[in-house]
């Protein structure tokens, strides 16, 4: 590993229904793809804040196959889950899945598209989270619930600056 700058996480919001994260990983994309799709690897990094583990990580990686993650808080025993279904899979390149929390407050699924592109031995991971329907979101807004995370984070930061 050469003394390169630490890779930075970039977060952008190209529309009011999308959040896009980009991060460079110093590994070939076959390995990075495995890290996103193989349970024995997923449960070692996709953990959120410290103190959480993933006792359940079921993955059926095929179009129409489902996944189910359950996180466990090691100090207070709290648990919560996320489930989803795979919609498109191009090995080592692209995965599209729909996901939702087991006890969700969202009115619709979130569609997550994960792209893996390799250059000079490093892999750029681009994850786009898209709220499934504007109708679903608008219906929620009109009902007065105003659900659906629809942010322009960059502009929010401008306002706060």
């Amino acid at each position: 590993m050469s003394a390169q700058a630490k890779p930075q996480l970039a977060i952008a919001t190209p529309s009011d229904r999308e959040i896009v994260m980009t991060r460079v990983m110093r590994a070939p994309r076959e390995l990075v793809f495995d890290a996103f799709t193989k349970p024995e690897m997923i449960k070692r990094w996709l953990l959120g804040p410290d103190g959480w583990s993933m006792p359940v990580c079921d993955v059926d990686l095929r179009v129409g196959g489902t996944f189910h993650y359950v996180w466990h808080n090691d100090s207070d025993g709290k648990e919560f889950g996320l489930h989803g279904i795979y919609r498109e899979i191009t090995p080592h390149e692209r995965v599209v899945h729909a996901e939702n929390f087991d006890q969700s407050w969202y009115p619709c699924d979130v569609i997550v598209t994960t792209l893996f592109t390799e250059r000079d031995g490093s892999t750029t991971v681009t994850m786009t989270q898209l709220f499934e329907s504007r109708e679903g979101r608008d219906a929620a807004i009109e009902s007065g619930m105003e659900k659906g995370v629809a942010a322009s984070f960059d502009r929010l930061e401008e306002i706060l600056a």
Binding site: M1, P7, L9, I11, D16, M21, R23, M25, R26, A27, L31, V32, A35, M41, R44, W45, L46, L47, G48, P49, D50, W52, W71, F80, L82, W105, I141, G144, M145, E146, K147, G148, V149, A150, A151, S152, F153, R155, L156, E157, E158, I159, L160
Partner: protein, 128 residues
Amino acid sequence: MELIGYGRGSAERLDATFTALADPTRRAILARLASGEASVLELASPFAMSQPAISKHLKVLERAGLISRSRDAQRRPCRLEAKPLGEASGWLARYRDRWEGNFARLDALLDEFQSDAKHSKRAKRRRR
């Protein structure tokens, strides 16, 4: 996963904040109010929009708790409320923290797999 630790009431409040912020006119109104309170008429003047259209935007902002309107007779000036914005930027900071934590763990895992792969290649070569 990014909403761990928030109650539902709080998640709904954040959603209202983000929905309110998703519109460019409403962001411009907030930016204007950041420099001091203003009446509906004053807020409407930079936009090619009717006063009722601006009032509709103000209602969305008010419902999200991003602004308050004084009962001060006819003028009813609007004022920026900082608390929901603080919560939203706090949410953003935590969202970023969580994913930075995830990716840092992934860096370590990928390093481990790559050095294992090198070792096993070397071991194979030695066996030959």
